[in-house]
């Protein structure tokens, strides 16, 4: 017998669940994770093209990469045609490649689906399209779920944000890329459900009378909102849905840009455009690894030798050349999460050449992301208005997704709807639970 599951392919975390008509079973697809039912959306591909996902990928990455040796070799990458007024010549292009690099760690795979101009990436000798990356992740996830269930999975209901992108073409392309990847991963039937609606289906299991509900699904990549009538499956209705590309990864970026860059020379290095380029690449998880060339190392060495912000530039060198970027992003994210419960936290990173310590308060965080609050409130009120309901007619506001725990946004929901209407749900599992229910319908 083969079965159909729900998969939440999230920006930061993913999950798989199955519904038997009575209860939802969240599958422990990552036994190494603190919550085995939640698996990090990270993919590690080794030099011999062996992929791993979740905590296993993270451990593999740390084991292979941190403080490893590097050896750069000059490699022919292609040629470009140069045309002048009366001449034309061909020039060879070379790149420096680290031939000891043991593997590549990829995260934010879902963001890559909608990122403009990002078609894929070169991993050693192979080119992986965005679809290939998603397929590799999904096939391993499917395999793990099948191992847990002990039977093959033939179909899937995948979650998707209300809007992958503001552009309808890109939105359609992102969904079709994901569908193609799922088929390639071995799912014979693939359908989609909006993530907030999936979260609504999960919430519906806990209510006994019809309600007007706002689902506020605020995750790692997007904010998705749905206004629905729930409680009676026969009269279930979606009044309106909306979303915006603001979420956890934007807040991480804001923290890095406003609080962390000074630890790596920002504000102290002024007349070195190459070094400024490296500093500005820090918030960008895709750009930072590309900075690790021997030329850049030489530039940093010279600047340190000349006494230009030596401590900060040594830290920058450590961040780039000791493969600390992933750890750094994780520390920033952990600091952000800690501020949901505490008034202050420490973001720190210590290594041979890095000694970063920053006391970060909730007040500072709220100041740093204040401008996002305006956009989020605007989208929320527009979606409510589109539904034809007044805020007073809303019976419950259900929060889901990691970013929905940020107090600034909880306070906003409380201000608009009243504290008694704002309901907590399972932050990381309500969407996947709803997708499993949808898969059974």
């Amino acid at each position: 017998m083969s079965i159909k599951v729900g998969i939440d392919f999230g920006t930061s975390n993913s999950g798989v669940a199955v519904y038997d008509g009575q209860r939802v079973r969240l599958l422990p697809v990552d036994p190494k994770n603190v919550i085995p039912e939640v698996i990090k959306t990270v993919l590690y591909i080794t030099r011999d093209y062996r992929p791993s996902i979740g905590q296993e990928a993270v451990e593999h990455y740390y084991r292979d990469n941190v403080n490893r040796q590097r050896r750069f070799v000059k490699q022919w990458a292609g040629e470009i045609d140069v045309y002048g007024a009366d001449m034309h010549y061909v020039r060879d292009i070379y790149v420096y490649v680290d031939e000891l690099k043991p593997g590549r760690l990829l995260q934010y795979l879902k963001t890559a689906l909608r990122k403009e101009g990002y078609e894929g990436t070169q991993i050693f000798e192979r080119y992986y399209t965005v679809s290939d990356l998603a397929q590799t992740y999904l096939s391993l996830l499917k395999k793990r779920a099948e191992d847990v269930l002990g039977e093959p999975i033939h179909a899937v209901t995948l979650g998707r944000p209300v809007k992958f992108s503001e552009s309808p073409e890109r939105d359609h392309k992102a969904q079709e890329t994901l569908r193609h990847a799922a088929h390639e991963a071995g799912f014979k039937e693939v359908d989609f459900e909006l993530e907030p609606i999936a979260a609504a289906l999960d919430y519906e299991q806990s209510i006994h009378e019809p309600q007007n509900v706002v689902i506020f699904d605020f995750g790692g990549g997007t904010l998705d909102i749905a206004v629905m009538r729930l409680g009676d499956p026969n009269q279930r209705q979606v009044y309106a849905s909306g979303g915006v590309d603001i979420a956890g990864s934007d807040f991480d970026r804001a923290i890095i840009e406003k609080r962390m860059l000074s630890h790596f020379g920002y504000g102290q290095v002024k007349y070195h455009p190459e070094i400024m380029e490296m500093i500005h690449a820090i918030p960008d998880w895709m750009a930072l690894p590309e900075m690790g060339t021997p030329i850049n190392k030489n530039i940093l060495d010279k600047a340190v030798h000349a006494g230009t912000a030596p401590i900060q530039l040594k830290a920058l060198q450590g961040l780039i050349y000791n493969d600390l970027a992933f750890t750094f992003y994780n520390r920033v994210e952990a600091g952000k999460i800690a501020l949901s419960n505490n008034g202050a936290t420490i973001i720190s990173l210590e290594d041979k050449e890095v000694a970063l310590w920053e006391l970060y308060t909730r007040h500072q965080f709220e100041t740093d992301i204040d401008h996002y609050l305006v956009d989020v409130e605007k989208v929320l009120l527009e979606t409510i208005a589109k539904s034809g309901l007044e805020p007073g007619a809303i019976d419950a506001v259900v929060k889901t997704g990691g970013s929905s725990n940020i107090p600034l946004f909880t306070e906003m929901l409380t201000r608009i709807f009243g504290a008694e209407k704002v309901k907590e749900s399972n932050t990381f599992t309500s969407v996947v639970a709803g997708l499993a229910i949808k898969a059974k319908m």
């Binding site: 505490n342 008034g343 202050a344 310590w357 006391l359 308060t361 909730r362 007040h363 500072q364």
Partner: protein, 391 residues
């Protein structure tokens, strides 16, 4: 942003949420304590630099590096003037020693040549003890590391072990005792260390299949402190073997009940971890680093030889694998047990110690061809004599 601006922001948090003030004070106090400790460390370091302690430490380090360089030179030869400075090494360059040792730390050294077939025999009832004597062929100019079951290590030059008469009969009472085991410990194994500067890891395996790797860059500390560690997890487990290897190498070990486990050195942990699920009566009897162009040879106590190509070695990813069974369970029930295994080439020779105490040397090619080893009694252990070492 200046530090005073940051403090102003912290104050704003404390004003907005007074409960945060306590946390901010705690975090700042912890930082202050850490910085104070760091400051003390730096002051200590400064004093060490000023009074010369640090200089002495670096001098010791340099001395150790020079020692490693000497080992390398002895291993690969050097110019005339260099050899003149190393008379003991140059005198012994062309000879090969076969070491026969037991767990009480007793070692016989027999100087053998390329033609010898019967180097001698051991006459002693201790041969019947559960811990079988082991054989190791090394160049006479080698340095060996002795690993004891307590995790202690010591080194000694092979040439410093008195050689016994080739072709004679020896009792363990006559054997040399390069480093007597201390109370409660036994000699686990002997390993040549001239390759140390060229290798990346020490790789230990215990009797119960617990594996641990240690960076060979820590050799100075290991040899200086005379301690490598037991490399075991369970209290009753004991170290069995240690070998030198590179990151790209594979590693294999074999148990008495014929379970073979292959491991990728690169993926092994720096802390001891169990890699095989063994039955209560099973334990490791051989470990080696298989090379791609060599065969893996497995010998049972009755002299039956099993051969596998090194390329066929399956690597285990699981932390508790069962291992590949070399013989069917029915043969195990009949009492077949393994006593030795190694990675060999056709031109190598195999030294075999049997229960009568006889040591016989056979060509690997003939053993592999015949599929068995002839011996006077049950075979106790084997040792490989590499072809290039004998030439």
């Amino acid at each position: 942003m200046s530090f005073s601006q940051k403090i102003d922001e912290w104050m704003k948090e404390a004003e907005a949420r007074p409960e945060s003030a306590v946390m901010i004070v705690k975090l700042v106090a912890k930082r202050l304590r850490d910085l104070t400790e760091r400051n003390e460390e730096l002051l200590t370091e400064n004093i060490a630099l000023q009074n010369g302690t640090r200089v002495e430490e670096y001098q010791k380090r340099i001395a150790h590096l020079e020692y490693q360089l000497d080992l390398l030179k002895r291993r690969f030869g050097g110019d005339e003037s260099l050899l003149a400075e190393l008379p003991t090494a140059s005198a012994a360059t062309s000879t090969l020693s076969l070491l026969v040792y037991n767990n009480y730390g007793r070692v016989f050294r027999i100087e053998i040549d390329a033609d010898i077939e019967v180097p001698g025999r051991v006459v002693d009832e201790t041969l019947q003890s559960s811990e079988q004597p082991r054989l190791l062929a090394v160049p006479s100019n080698e340095e060996v590391l002795l690993l004891f079951t307590s995790g202690r290590v010591s080194t000694c030059a092979v040439s410093n072990i008195p050689a016994v008469e080739c072709g004679g009969a020896w009792s363990w009472n006559e054997a040399a005792l390069p480093d007597e085991p201390r109370a409660g410990e036994f000699l686990a194994c002997v390993m040549p260390i001239s390759r140390l500067p060229l290798s990346e890891f020490f790789l230990q395996v215990s009797r119960r299949g617990c594996v641990k790797k240690t960076l060979s860059s820590m050799a100075q500390s290991v040899l200086g402190n005379h301690y490598l560690g037991k490399g075991t997890l369970q209290k009753l487990d004991q170290p069995f073997d240690v070998t030198l290897c590179m990151k790209k190498d594979l590693f294999a070990f074999v148990t008495i009940e014929g379970k073979l486990l292959g491991l990728d050195v690169n993926e092994l942990s720096y802390s001891a971890e169990d890699r095989i699920k063994l039955t209560a009566s099973d334990y490791v009897i051989a470990s080696f680093v298989p090379n791609a162009d060599e065969s893996m040879l497995f010998v049972t106590q009755t002299g039956k030889v099993i051969q596998r190509e090194s390329s066929s070695l399956e690597l285990s990813k699981s932390s508790l694998a069962k291992g590949l069974a070399l013989i069917p369970p029915s043969r195990l029930e009949q009492g077949v047990r393994f006593v030795g295994a190694a990675s060999v080439r056709n031109e190598d020779r195999i030294a075999v110690l049997d229960s009568k105490g006889s040591i016989n040397i056979h060509r690997a090619e003939s053993i592999l061809g015949a599929g068995s080893v002839e011996a006077d009694g049950l075979i106790l252990s084997i040792g490989v004599i590499p072809a290039e070492a004998a030439s």
